[in-house]
Symmetry: C2
């Protein structure tokens, strides 16, 4: 019997394909109810094979977080790709190569970027103007109509840059303290984007609004005026999303399987092979005293993993070691060489580090980093 | 003129070879003064080419942090390798393969690991017992003589496991608040290890003591009784080591070059392409209010980088974006498409993510992750 356990030698990211497909179907249904296109963000999985699960459900456009990632997915047959980060103009050669083959859309927020592209582009591409609706990472403040107008005016005269509308990311939703805050942030993004649509509707033909954060796309049913949803993390979810209320525990589709390499009975600690180079050092604060949580524990089963185990958590990470603090009971359950499962705090960062995944039905899945 | 600037398209880890070689020579000199072998930890650079710079200076043994990394360096000609993490027994097939070809040394701290190896090994290998001198990550407490005796007794009867002595890591030195604390922690490790040497000297022929942390190996001249130094980070150093006082600013041998992709004049923020997937999310607290610092700023020059720029720092990271907060002056200096340099907080984690390096003399250097 070819159980998972016998296939795992070192830290391994397990992926439950059925859970992924359920998550994909649920988001497709939500986008349909919102009457919006789903353009899933593929930075989470970075895998052509996982991408195909979307394709099989009818998805034909995606977002990515770098021009290199756009190239990888273009090479795997995707024909409509938005690079959802302000354009790095140094990538112009690869941008030109991709724009000659597919519908490539870039994101800009500055006059300089537009002038550069206008001068260096050899092919047409779509442009979204990045607007800031409260996250304050990047984008033009949505109320700065004058600054936005400068950009739309520049594009009006361009034969290569086709302004497609406005793109926002309610990234502050990942730091929300409860669902009410997510709804509030999301409402402001909706209001701001729709106001821009009203202002620029006449001068930008077929103007579109694109938003995408997994928390709002997972819990809200309100997307008036929005043409496109762009969430990414939902395909895997993780502990951060579970704590935010974006998903149920059984919707988390990835778990890291790590071998126990040492045990300390005085401190009730299990040491695993599995560190910052596997999980990333992202954590959430588990209590008001600032206790760091790097992952929750599950038992690895014959073809997947159990519910979250009470009485323990991944408490520390160095480069290759992880420290699990646990109850007497859990401590006694695991010995040297056993596998223990960890639901990661941030699946995007963990998946990026792991470079390939083992599906719970026993197949290795490669990524652009394999 | 082939300047660095023209070679850089996306986030790129620059490496100053001469600084690396200076760091290597300084550590070799320190080990010689201490009358100890230098067994550098290669988890920092993970590169056969950087490894050769050590080999050219006469280094012939190394430490690594996984059996896979041991295989990579064995494939590149290294014949004496210690895997300096408690053994993951699931790697037994690769362990046997390597032990048939090179002098392989493993680290153990449990009866279970010894019994497993004794039963499954096909070749001789060296064993270090991991002892804990205060870091409390793993290892048997150095005062637990009885527990250690159980392990040495088991190995006395083994024909495959050759006990080589004791290995410790003063990892709490990375969290020290000043140099005095580093000296204090280091003194305790020296005392503890030497006491063990005295106790087990008779029963373990050629007993050895191995310690290795970059802070103590960089600032102490006191290594009595120690046979082997095992630091790793010193080849690159980083901001964390600079803050600890382990290195001078001009000994930091790596800097990330990142393109500016957006600017926000209201917040004096530069947005770079360069995020958690490039730097890792490791940070240090820059002040008593908990301000996070993910890296310090430098100017990229024709063949390297400048001194640290005052008036700004890398303040936030998401997956692919970084946010630099800076003074008016710095803000005005950088426009869209310019490169800005960042000295990373933790070079080991950053190098692991970047997978290859661009030397400041214009050559690409590959790693085991390339």
């Amino acid at each position: 019997m070819n159980t998972l356990d016998s296939q795992i030698i070192r830290p391994t990211l397990l992926l439950n394909k059925q859970k992924c497909i359920n998550n994909i179907e649920a988001m497709i249904a939500r986008a349909q109810r919102a009457n919006a296109r789903l353009r899933p963000h593929f930075k989470t999985h970075q895998s052509a094979e996982v991408g195909n699960w979307f394709k099989e459900k009818g998805i034909d456009c995606i977002a990515v977080s770098s021009v290199e990632m756009a190239k990888y997915f273009a090479d795997h047959g995707w024909k409509d790709i938005t690079v959802a980060i302000p354009v790095n103009v140094r990538e112009i050669d690869l941008i030109n190569e991709l724009a000659s083959k597919i519908q490539l859309n870039l994101v800009i927020e500055s006059r300089e970027s537009i002038l550069f592209l206008e001068s260096e582009l050899q092919h047409k591409l779509g442009i979204f103007i990045k607007v800031d609706t409260g996250y304050h990472r990047c984008g033009i403040p949505s109320e700065a109509i004058g600054s936005i107008q400068i950009l739309t005016d520049l594009m009006k005269e361009s034969e290569k840059l086709e302004c497609q509308g406005f793109l926002a990311h309610t990234g502050h939703n990942y730091k929300a303290s409860d669902q009410q805050e997510i709804h509030k942030n999301h409402s402001k993004t909706l209001l701001d984007l729709n106001e821009l649509k009203d202002v620029f509707r006449k001068e930008i033909p077929n103007i579109e609004l694109s938003l995408g954060d997994t928390p709002a796309c997972s819990i809200s049913e309100e997307f008036y005026g929005i043409d496109e949803l762009r969430p990414g993390n939902f395909v895997f979810y993780d502990i951060m999303q579970y704590v935010l209320g974006s998903c149920e525990e059984n919707e988390i589709a990835v778990a890291m399987a790590c071998p126990v390499i040492a045990r300390n009975i005085d401190r009730n600690e299990l040491v695993i092979h599995g560190g910052g180079v596997h999980f990333s050092k992202e954590f959430i604060e588990a209590d008001s005293e600032g206790t760091k949580l790097f992952g929750s524990l599950v038992r690895i089963t014959e073809n997947g993993w159990s519910e979250i185990l009470g009485g323990g958590f991944l408490a520390e990470l160095s480069q290759e070691h992880g420290i699990i603090r646990c109850s007497d009971e859990l401590f006694d359950e695991f010995t040297i060489g056993d596998l223990i499962g960890i639901l990661p705090v941030h699946s995007c960062m963990t998946a990026n580090l792991m470079r390939n995944y083992l599906s719970t039905d026993g197949n290795w899945i490669s990524t652009m980093n394999s």
